[in-house]
Symmetry: C2
Subunit: 224 residues, 2 copies
């Protein structure tokens, strides 16, 4: 756990090499971080008894580590756990002239590594802070922080951000300059956008409880 910064270019390994044509791979660590920072739910893949299991969970990060709520995978974790963590933002449907050229505009990050269970109380608290602030900025200083019992009851996993691959597809379909362009069909992109709505108060709250600014301000803003 040295404090040496991770290289700004992502490594090319057997697992991260890009194989497909139409998607754009990126080796920029900054792109990886941008994709991670735009979301808060990932899909965590583990192997259980030889079979894959993929669960959605929340995450946060610092410069070197991705922190994950590890409820499922963490249950019986002794030693490091091979994981693949994927974060995907879907930006739109690519509607081409031919069905074959249909696709999706998206940004996706895939992190390969061995997850370790975070046991050091200080790192655990800091990891939970990152995770909380990642999905709900401002909540760590607003809500009641975990006490010792809660901290012990929380399973937190850490995965190094060293080995990752990024794929991004943007823009129009690719059959605009081929023979299918003669068909006279409409082609383009149907964008998909994720938006935060107006906060919905817990019915158990006294009616005059003010919505704090850090929550109210997110309503109407874009997510992803």
């Amino acid at each position: 756990m040295s404090s040496k910064p991770l290289p700004s270019l992502l490594p090319v390994t057997d697992r991260t090499r890009h194989r497909r044509l139409r998607e754009q791979g990126s080796l920029e660590r900054a792109e990886l971080e941008a994709i991670l920072d735009a979301g808060f739910v990932c899909h965590l893949g583990v192997v259980i008894e030889g079979r894959p299991v993929v669960v959605p969970t929340v995450y946060g990060r610092d410069e070197r580590w991705l922190y994950l709520h590890g409820a499922v995978a963490g249950r019986s974790l002794a030693g490091d756990l091979p994981v693949c963590v994927t974060v995907t933002h879907v930006d739109g449907l690519v509607l081409a002239r031919s069905v074959f050229e249909h696709g999706v505009n998206y940004r996706s990050a895939m992190i390969h590594g061995d997850a370790r269970k975070v046991t050091d109380p200080e790192e655990k608290l800091e990891g939970l802070r990152r995770l909380t602030e990642h999905s709900a900025p401002g909540q760590w200083s607003y809500a009641r922080r975990p006490n010792r019992r809660e901290l012990a009851a929380t399973a937190l996993l850490a995965v190094s951000l060293r080995e990752a691959s990024v794929k991004i597809r943007t823009g129009a379909p690719e059959d605009g300059d081929g023979p299918d362009a003669e068909l006279g069909l409409w082609a383009g992109v149907l964008p998909l956008t994720s938006l935060w709505g107006e906060p919905v108060a817990d019915p158990a709250l006294p009616a005059d409880t003010p919505v704090p600014g850090h929550i109210a301000r997110r309503a109407g803003t874009r997510h992803g």
Copy 2:
């Protein structure tokens, strides 16, 4: 591949049994189908050389089978491939009085099975039709359908919808009737909604190409 309908209750197996408290499991096949029909991108988990790999891909379905674009997993597929396919819709952030009770409102379906590569041309065409119509209803009869060469170049996987588990969390945080309610903090849900935007025409299109109704009508409607 009998045509007997799948049971309306999902099976409880070691893989699908619900273990956590705050999430609601569902055994209704109708809930599984509703979650699948609300989305079009899944996360496909496979095991490659003993390690998990999770890739986003598009899917469609009929009553018995989930059909997936199998670009990554399908490359070197001989025989059946153990997979876990997860579809998740994030509906909001659950902001509780305590960090410990924070969570996410979501609907998630997880399908466990052995994927087979679809080789029969008739099933492949029908699977691709389902997949295309699932993400872009109306496109199968509007766009140019795959020719023989394209059909051969497309890797399609099929996974049985028999073994699946569904998890749903809705509603307010759960610390409204505990001691933390006395803290006087705001608590509730910040909803997240996914919306289709206005179609963006391919710049290569002649300016007067009309947007077909089945695409134009989706603008402004909710996804997920």
